[in-house]
């Protein structure tokens, strides 16, 4: 199976702080890969490097064979990025927002319409898409943004805390969208999360990050078995020496 993402010895230095410390991992095409860890572990920094927002201090990252540093514009054509706690344009309706974003991918009117229809299906927002984004609840906004990230069927979707802060029903809907979409369209997903149960439910493989380093990597099931724990939360606590 070909590689969607290949990170080799990635270092990111912010002044005196080493946010990423020789991070290496691989993501196979079509899988859901989770970066998990506490605040400040380096998850968002890694996602930003892959999505061409930040440059690595050293090391290399390839997305479907394209180097994110030297070939950023090509990489941007094949990925979508959903920042943590991102918003939509308050005075655009959900429908207008989706159309605005779709236009960056194609100028063909029919294709734009298809993309928006797809997003409408994914978001499940129905008639509310006609309303301005400022009238949306947090959960509705997140569903809109997840739909935006998936509607173009990108080769790689990078989702930073996709269900963070959502109520049970919205979080359930978002997770279901991601899981089903990957299955149906062979999209590769890289996500970060604090929520170990969410990761356990969604991800084929996970990397546990702490202080900019991967401390353990594998499938949730294998990690739970290997560390003789009941869930990933316990595994994490055990490997960082908390439990």
């Amino acid at each position: 199976m070909s590689l969607a993402v290949e990170a080799k010895k990635v270092v990111k230095q912010f002044g005196n702080i080493r946010a990423l410390d020789e991070l290496s991992f691989q993501i196979k095409t079509g899988e859901i890969y989770g970066l998990i860890g506490p605040n400040g572990a380096g998850k968002t920094t890694m996602l930003r490097i892959i999505s061409t927002l930040l440059l690595p201090t050293s090391g290399t990252v390839h997305v479907f064979g394209q180097n994110v540093t030297n070939n950023a514009s090509e990489v941007r054509k094949i990925l979508t990025y959903l920042p943590e706690e991102a918003g939509a344009y308050r005075n655009l309706s959900g429908w207008e927002y989706l159309k605005f974003m779709a236009k960056f991918n194609t100028t063909n009117t029919e294709k734009i319409q298809q993309i928006i229809d797809e997003a409408a299906k994914i978001s499940g927002l129905g008639e509310r898409l006609k309303d301005r984004a400022k009238t949306y609840s947090k959960g509705m906004k997140r569903r809109l943004l997840v739909a935006r990230a998936l509607m173009t069927k990108p080769k790689l979707a990078i989702l930073d805390e996709p269900a963070s802060g959502l109520d049970v029903l919205h979080a359930y809907h978002v997770r279901k969208i991601i899981k089903n979409y990957v299955k149906e369209h062979e999209v590769t997903v890289l996500l970060s999360s604090h929520n170990m149960l969410e990761v356990e439910y969604l991800c084929n493989n996970v990397a546990l990050l702490d202080k900019g380093k991967i401390i353990v990597e594998g499938s949730p099931k294998n990690l739970i078995t290997k560390y003789e724990c009941e869930n990933l939360e316990e595994v994490f606590a055990k490997v960082v020496g908390y439990a």
Binding site: I17, P38, L53
Partner: protein
């Protein structure tokens, strides 16, 4: 005392005082700005007084009698520099360029019959008065520009007190663009022009500050909502993102400049009509409103300046993390808008020393104000120079803005700073 009031008050004060943006914007800026304005005002009064002292008064003695000699002698005793000419009409004074030759901006004509009328009056025929005609060149200077002419009026009043009350009257006329406008008092005209020259700079200040806030908020909102982060990962040229932002502000700036021009034109018309019935001053007839070309040039100057301010606002907001931060950063630009604008209200630009002129020329936001005075007198060269200068400044600003958006450097630096803070917090 209200329960909990003190606790909340202390918390609020701590929050406000510890925010460097508020400290600088609300405390440091006024502390710096007002002393500078004080210096400007002090300088304005001083320079106007100096000019009045140094001014030479040209006297045209068309009477040649004993009383005209007495009057001239009285004026000489007050310490005014006097140059004397005989037997010339006021129009000849202007045609022969006698004012610039005598380094003067005003002259007095002692008309034929002056001495005869004075003699009649002093011999008890109280109904007969003497008249002198005073002529002043209108320059459209600052608020203190008529200090010189007021000085001469005071001297004539004191002459009256010394000789006989109400013996001497003056008629006031103004020389505008080389033509004598009979019966128009330069002080009244100056007052009227100042009332208008205050309105345009104030409107420009409001428009610039408001437009900059909007532009900065637009970018900062994108950052705060993380929509900019999303956009930067889309398959779109980053220069296109910047140009999209700037172009929308250009359209708004264009509409704003046209709106100001229409409003300003309407205001000139209404002020003229209002004053006309009382003092017979009609700025349109006097040629003291801009020509159509003047309006167009003033509009262009205003538009380019707005564009430059908006581009600067976009750049500055790129360094802010949120809307509040962007607005605070924009606040730092306000002094360089306010100081030249207020200075140009009070000062006559043409009489300023070269160093201050250079400083004012160097500040792009001075140019619409300079232009608003220059177009009235048909000085299009100054306006066009200003437009070229501000255009060049705007191009530089837009280039810097494009580098900010087109390369990842500034984004990385900004995110690095933000990230560092987060890291520090988590530690």
């Amino acid at each position: 005392m209200l329960k909990g009031f003190r606790t909340i008050l202390l918390k609020e004060l701590k929050e406000l005082i510890r925010d460097p943006k508020i400290l600088v914007g609300m405390i440091v800026v006024p502390l710096v700005m007002f002393p500078i304005l004080g210096l400007v005002l002090g300088y304005a009064v001083e320079s106007a007084q100096e000019q009045a002292q140094q001014a030479t008064l040209l006297i045209i003695d068309n009477d040649g009698g004993n009383w005209s000699q007495t009057f001239i002698g009285y004026l000489e005793n007050t310490g005014i520099n006097i140059n004397l000419e005989n037997n010339l009409t006021p129009q000849q004074v202007i045609d022969q360029n006698l004012l610039p030759q005598n380094n003067s901006t005003q002259f007095i004509e002692i008309p034929l019959g002056f001495s005869a009328n004075m003699t009649e009056h002093t011999e008890g025929n109280w109904e007969i008065n003497a008249v002198i005609n005073s002529y002043g060149v209108f320059q459209g200077g600052g608020i203190f520009s008529d200090i010189g002419s007021s000085g001469i009026t005071a001297i004539i009043n004191s002459f009256n007190r010394a000789i006989a009350p109400n013996v001497l009257y003056t008629t006031q006329s103004t020389i505008i663009k080389g033509e004598i406008q009979q019966g128009i008092d330069p002080s009244a005209l100056s007052g009227l022009m100042i009332s208008q020259s205050l309105a345009l700079p104030m409107t420009i200040i409001i428009m610039l500050t408001y437009a900059m806030q909007i532009a900065a908020t637009s970018v900062a909102m994108e950052k705060e909502e993380k929509t900019l982060e999303t956009l930067l990962t889309m398959p779109v040229d980053r220069f296109a993102i910047l140009m999209g932002k700037l172009s929308s502000t250009v359209i708004v700036a264009g509409i704003a400049a046209i709106a100001v021009m229409i409003g300003y034109n309407y205001m000139l018309g209404s002020v003229t009509l209002g004053i006309q019935s009382q003092t017979s001053i009609d700025l349109v007839n006097l040629g003291l409103v801009p020509s159509p070309i003047g309006y167009i040039l003033l509009g262009i100057s205003l538009f380019i300046t707005l564009l430059s301010a908006l581009a600067l606002a976009v750049i500055m907001s790129a360094f802010a993390e949120d809307v509040r931060g962007a607005q605070a950063l924009i606040g730092y630009i306000y002094p360089i808008i306010f100081i030249p604008t207020l200075a140009l209200i009070y000062l006559d630009f043409n009489t300023l020393p070269d160093i201050i002129k250079t400083i004012l020329y160097a500040i792009p936001y001075s140019h619409p104000i300079i232009a608003s005075k220059a177009v009235v007198f048909g000085d299009y060269t100054t306006v066009i120079f200003g437009i070229i200068y501000v255009t060049a400044f705007t191009i530089v600003i837009m280039y810097v803005a494009s580098r900010l958006f087109a390369t990842e450097k500034i984004l990385t630096a900004k995110l690095r700073f933000k990230r560092k803070k987060k890291e520090n917090q988590s530690q």
